[in-house]
């Protein structure tokens, strides 16, 4: 959840000053900071997932899409800058791209509200997914958020309702949807763009129902125990792949973007071959089977 935005803001300011706002190209970053580190602990992974200049959806748009046209607004309240939507060509395939991200420079981060979307962001995304459905374009979502925004306006305009609507509509959207978690997959705010035919995670990304800090402060009454919480939540890409919650881990190296482009194109073309009813049935089954429980035969009386 986005409860420490001010702190993050200050930290960003400091780190931005240090690097004089010059952003290291992602390729270099992958070579240095990420590639050298050991698999490490869960909390290290959380830190990596939060690195400001990680690859994000906008990087992919710049790298892989031609003739990209950004489309704004939810047609009800406003335009949310945390989420960028638009259409463009991926090779010769027209696609709708939706990217929720935190921003890399201080200015960008402020503009993007540190990657925490308001209800109008989710509604804009849904509007453009419905548009994609109409014109039979596949949808690609990129997600990096610590969570949907927690504030007065967000509540007044129905944050819960906006996310709920997306979950419901995405479940039966009559066109392929692919979601890629590029950094932090923060709870419902991430899921609101991740009900998809396949969900992929970058190698150093995380996906969790609550931030390790939030979990630690509720469970252990101590934010400093977030390393313990991160471990317990099992939120790394490896964990999520083993649970069957994501289909693929995208390795982070100097070929990430080209590799991702190839994989996305392949996947979209194969999803486009499917009969629409089959596509939607598979999407339903994908989520339907997640989770374990026990079904006891005898009636259990508790007391």
């Amino acid at each position: 959840m986005a409860n420490d935005i001010k702190n993050k803001h200050n930290k960003t300011k400091q780190s931005a000053k240090k690097s004089k706002l010059k952003m290291q190209p992602y390729q270099d970053l992958a070579k240095t900071k990420l590639a050298k580190t050991d698999p490490g602990s869960a909390i290290d992974m959380v830190a990596k997932a939060r690195i400001a200049d990680r690859m994000c959806g906008s990087d992919f748009i710049r790298y892989a899409l031609t003739d990209f046209v950004e489309l704004h607004g939810d047609r009800a309240y406003g335009d949310d800058n945390a989420i960028t939507c638009g259409i463009g060509f991926l090779d010769d395939l027209a696609v709708t791209v939706i990217t929720l991200e935190k921003g890399k420079t201080t200015n960008e981060r402020i503009k993007r509200n540190f990657g925490s979307a308001h209800p109008e962001g989710y509604r804009k995304a849904l509007r453009l997914m419905k548009q994609a459905e109409k014109f039979e374009r596949p949808v690609i979502c990129f997600v990096d958020t610590s969570g949907a925004y927690c504030g007065i306006g967000a509540e007044e305009r129905g944050q819960g309702h906006a996310i709920a609507r997306n979950l419901m509509e995405m479940m039966t959207l009559n066109t392929p949807i692919l979601s890629v978690l590029t950094g932090e997959g923060g709870s419902g705010g991430a899921l609101g763009l991740a009900v998809a035919d396949e969900v992929w995670m970058m190698q150093n990304s995380i996906y969790s129902v609550i931030s390790p800090e939030g979990c630690a402060s509720i469970l252990y009454k101590d934010e400093k125990k977030s390393p313990e919480a991160a471990e317990a939540l099992k939120l790394t890409s490896k964990n999520l792949l083993s649970f069957g919650i994501v289909e693929q881990i995208i390795p982070e190296n100097d070929k990430t973007l080209s590799n991702l482009k190839t994989k996305i194109l392949e996947k979209l073309h194969s999803l486009l071959q499917l009969d629409p009813a089959e596509l939607i049935k598979r999407r339903y089954d994908r989520f339907r089977k997640i989770g374990k429980y026990e079904e006891k035969k005898e009636i259990l009386i508790v007391n």
Binding site: G158, M168, L235, E294
Partner: protein, 275 residues
């Protein structure tokens, strides 16, 4: 996730045991305890105490019409989360239930419907895999049998101890609700105190008609989280039923005692006449 909300209401009314009346924490009205129980633990001003799922079913279902389904679904400690097993045992003892939701079918003034009822006495009504599974199953059952669904929401949100699996329940239930809805079937949700987090951002808000109980907290992010984020106090009544109604996110507010006839009326209007 909203532990603070539950600190007060679970305890019996703050009165010495010898005096058998309930004093409302909101308006100060005193009523005889037995009368308070008869009124389904709701004060004349609308302020209420949590009702157990069984009592709630008794309050709206026709006598002995309720048939419980999937009652033996049990939670598995899927992440082997510290202390979770112990906490589950405590929750079972505190509530007398195996999980935070009861599902089944019943009739309301003779009209058949499916029903799910969440219970905050079990783990703050938090949503884990079993809660998601039971709700999904009741929607699938209702879809096959062409039945409406009435759902009572009461939840502190997702159950952290089940991590990502608890988050996925939001998508799973939403899928089942969409199928039910696409078949032209009615779903009414009743949001009771508190309805928050992942439940608000999924099945609570996905119904055709959203009812709320008076003076209930209905939120995505709880007030404490928001206050921490924006570093300021929230205005009085923020995220409470009347406020949410004014903002346009619920259809109507109905008191507990008036709910059964209201539901029957709505169900009757959605009965499909035999073709």
């Amino acid at each position: 996730m909203l532990k603070h909300i539950f600190k007060k209401p679970n305890i019996e009314p703050e009165v010495p045991v010898s005096i058998e009346y309930h004093k409302c924490i909101d308006c100060g009205t005193k009523v005889d305890l037995r009368k308070f129980e008869d009124d389904l633990k709701e004060c004349v001003c609308g302020k209420s105490l949590p009702l157990s799922a069984r009592k709630r079913i008794d309050s709206i279902a026709d006598k002995s019409s309720f048939v419980e389904l999937h009652k033996n679904l049990c939670t598995v400690d899927i992440l082997e989360f510290k202390d979770y097993k112990t906490k589950l045992e405590t929750a079972k003892k505190a509530s007398g239930e195996l999980e935070a939701v009861i599902v089944g079918h019943c009739s309301i003034n003779g009209l058949l419907c499916c029903i799910f009822v969440m219970d905050t006495h079990f783990f703050m009504g938090s949503m884990g895999v079993v809660v998601g599974e039971k709700i999904t199953r009741i929607f699938e059952y209702a879809t096959i049998n062409n039945l409406p669904v009435i759902g009572f929401c009461a939840s502190g949100g997702a159950r952290m101890q089940e991590g990502i699996f608890s988050l996925m329940q939001m998508a799973k239930t939403s899928g089942a609700i969409k199928r039910h809805s696409d078949k032209g079937l009615l779903y009414i949700s009743d949001l009771t105190n508190p309805t928050t987090g992942g439940v608000t951002a999924s099945f609570a808000m996905e119904s055709d008609i959203i009812i709320a109980e008076p003076k209930s907290l209905i939120a995505f992010a709880g007030p404490r989280v928001i206050e921490q984020t924006i570093k300021q106090k929230l205005p009085f009544g923020f995220q409470i039923s009347d406020f949410v109604l004014n903002k346009g996110f619920i259809d109507l507010i109905v008191k507990r005692k008036e709910l059964k006839p209201e539901l029957a009326k709505l169900l009757r209007m959605h009965c499909k006449s035999e073709k």
